[in-house]
Symmetry: C2
Subunit: 440 residues, 2 copies
């Protein structure tokens, strides 16, 4: 069975790196018992020294400022990249793979951009490149898609994969506060970054969706192929009307196999039925629904970020890599990830999707407006399922809220353009897509 | 990398066997793409021939009545045992392992009884013994505990792992029908067996809990060490009072690490908060909550039984076994499973657990009864959190419902024995344990 003790080097001793070092050092015996694998934390690279972290006592001489002491050390079997960012992480991982090290990373941005090339390199050097922590933190969704559901055609996948957005939307639902006020609180609590753009604009969720689609549909796609819409335009009005209609608003990352072997791939705020499990995923938690042809509907729930949940996933990857190192084999890598691989499915343009919509118009309180809007929608084959219009109590404008039946996005856009020419329509409508498929 | 094509033989062509054959035959290309593994279904053993199944066209000469044609065939790499029962399955699996075959089984009863011996045998012959489908069907909870959470100390685990019971309880909640009436419907629909004892008495859930505990706590325990209580005594009154108090009744399989390295292990009807995710797991679905020290609270949800969900898990095991066969290595087996392994934790007696309780007494409608019962409970250090007693409207007896604060089971039993001596107490109380730990 080869080596009895596997040496691990970690690049980066920030939040997640600290969590990983705590588990490797403090739970050394537990890991050996659970996995039959003896792991030794040999080196951690941190840019500035000296440094200590509460809750973990590192071995002597463990810390260094020089990444080469990890990636070029012939004794080190597994390199764990936790520095984040793209450029430096990219070149360090390349060199580690070229040196025949198994690599574990939590770097979704890097994989979303350079996954193909790095998996190709891992394959050439017959080493593993594991990345469980790069999507949905402690939830083992990567392994589940890659291994447990390998006999399934994946029909669809719905993820709450950004804890910041879910925290903000949950607070907006439960405390009736506005987006900007919750964002401030989230920043104070450390749930949101000082610059929250990547989170609240949906980019982070989109990067994770790219990884999930690569596994579910064996297709390597780029950020520009996804439709991405964040939560910054969601107001209390939307939250309240949604509730009145029996829905909750969640930022979902969605992938769906359509007829003709095309995949819908999109990230946007979504109305989900209030009794569905996804609607009840609150706070900073993550959840991913996967619907497979054999397994049927499934849901995976847990913490998607944070020191210890993310470290839990990184350590699982390290243990898997250690087994590969011991047995002298590599984890088989899905062909789709390799550079130059032919995508198996096409990505649907957002114009071609068909879905139900929530629309809120702000219109002048005059007779005939509903009829005019209804006529235009009807001309574009968009059928209205329900309408709420409340007494304006003397206000000059009024919210006109509609749920439509299933319609094509292209038609919806054309209809809206026409509706905006009506002088009674006072501002751009709020348009939110609805998913009923998650109602189990 | 050894053999390019891995031969599979299946023992049993019942419901799950049919599902597995459908996936292996119809999704042959998908599996090859997803896993890089070429699987060939060589033989299926069925007791009586000829036989056909809708939805799958077997290769020529695939069917046989003789199990030896599978377990002794030197060409066959993986044996899939799906005949169920203990005696015959036991001897066939023994012989397959001795012949150096990797084995996949969904047989929880067999593993709960003979797991230690069979894992020992697999270890000696350096082959895998995979069993994902033996607990919670399509939900990959075995792999998650064994691999994804290998760096975690498991604090607790709460499972809805019997679909029949969950279907019955869900119907009792939603349609206000009695246990016996729902059971009849469940039998007609095929959700319950003609003899439903194993399901409704909690035995099936207990067998699954034995497997989960073996993985979570590296301890091989027997059915007699578990406290097991089924759902046959749950009445509409309990369902309705529970709802009034903000709870839903679920049959839970529970394992909890307590101070002093002991594990509570029990299966019984349980009140869970109505807004918790577990409370919202409806119908025949399964769900398992796992709370780990690093990963925190997690939940896994899906179909726990049925042809295709179970087949999905079996096929995932076959693919894992195929990788082992190709690479000439075996899946490392947790030491706890091996025959004669020292249990790492002790199982707590039910008398020693501490929990909150729902109690419904049926008492004579006379003054002073509540005081008498309250005094006895108080003497046994059991404190009452809330009480419901409704106007008896002229009836001679009345239900007196209490929720207690946390109390020790031993004390509760002693208190009840004393309470039963009161002449105002007309029948045995309904006692249901409460779990708040699942409220996330």
């Amino acid at each position: 069975m080869g080596k009895s003790c596997i040496n691990v080097g970690i690049l980066g001793w920030g939040t997640v790196g600290t969590g990983v070092s705590k588990i490797l050092v403090n739970q050394h015996a537990l890991i050996a018992k659970n996995s039959g694998t003896e792991l030794r934390l040999k080196k951690i690279v941190k840019r500035t020294l000296p440094a200590t972290r509460e809750g973990v006592e590192l071995p002597v001489d463990c810390l260094t400022t020089n990444p080469v002491e990890v990636i070029d050390d012939p004794d080190i079997d597994i390199v764990v990249e936790l520095i984040g960012g793209v450029t430096e992480a990219h070149s360090l991982i390349r060199r580690a793979l070229q040196n025949g090290k198994h690599v574990v990373t939590a770097n979704k941005a890097l994989l979303a951009e350079h996954g193909g090339e790095l998996f190709q390199l891992a394959s050439e050097h017959q080493v593993s490149l594991n990345f469980e922590a790069s999507a949905a933190g402690g939830i083992p969704i990567i392994k589940t898609l890659q291994e447990s559901f390998a006999g399934n055609q994946i029909h669809s996948l719905y993820g709450i994969v950004n804890g910041t957005c879910n925290y903000i939307l949950t607070e907006m639902h439960e405390c009736s506060v506005d987006f900007s006020d919750v964002l401030k609180v989230a920043q104070d609590l450390g749930y949101a970054e000082a610059d929250p753009t990547l989170d609240v604009e949906g980019i982070d969720a989109a990067q994770k969706l790219i990884l999930l689609i690569a596994l579910a549909y064996r297709s390597s796609i780029s950020l520009s192929q996804l439709y991405v819409e964040g939560i910054t335009n969601i107001t209390q009005k939307e939250i309240q009307y949604a509730r009145e209609l029996g829905y909750v608003i969640k930022l979902l990352a969605i992938a769906k196999l359509t007829d003709g072997n095309r995949v819908e791939a999109r990230v946007h705020p979504t109305l989900v039925p209030e009794r569905s499990l996804l609607a009840n995923v609150g706070g900073a938690f993550n959840a991913v629904c996967v619907i497979g042809d054999a397994v049927g509907p499934t849901l995976f729930y847990g913490q998607g970020a944070g020191e210890m949940p993310t470290a839990s996933a990184v350590v699982a990857d390290i243990i898997d890599a250690a087994k590969s190192a011991q047995q002298g084999v590599s984890t088989p890598i899905s062909q789709a990830w390799l550079a130059g691989a032919q995508a198996e499915v096409d990505i649907c343009s957002i114009d071609d999707i068909e879905t139900r919509y929530y629309i809120r118009f702000v219109v002048a309180d005059r007779p005939g407006v509903l009829a005019k809007i209804g006529t235009i929608l009807g001309n574009w084959h968009i059928s209205i399922a329900s309408v709420i219009q409340k007494d304006p109590h003397g206000m000059e404008t009024v919210s006109l809220v509609m749920l439509t039946h299933t319609a094509r996005e292209k038609n919806m856009k054309a209809a809206l353009t026409e509706i905006y020419t009506l002088e009674e329509v006072k501002e751009e409508a709020q348009l939110i897509r609805i998913e009923e498929g998650v109602d189990f």
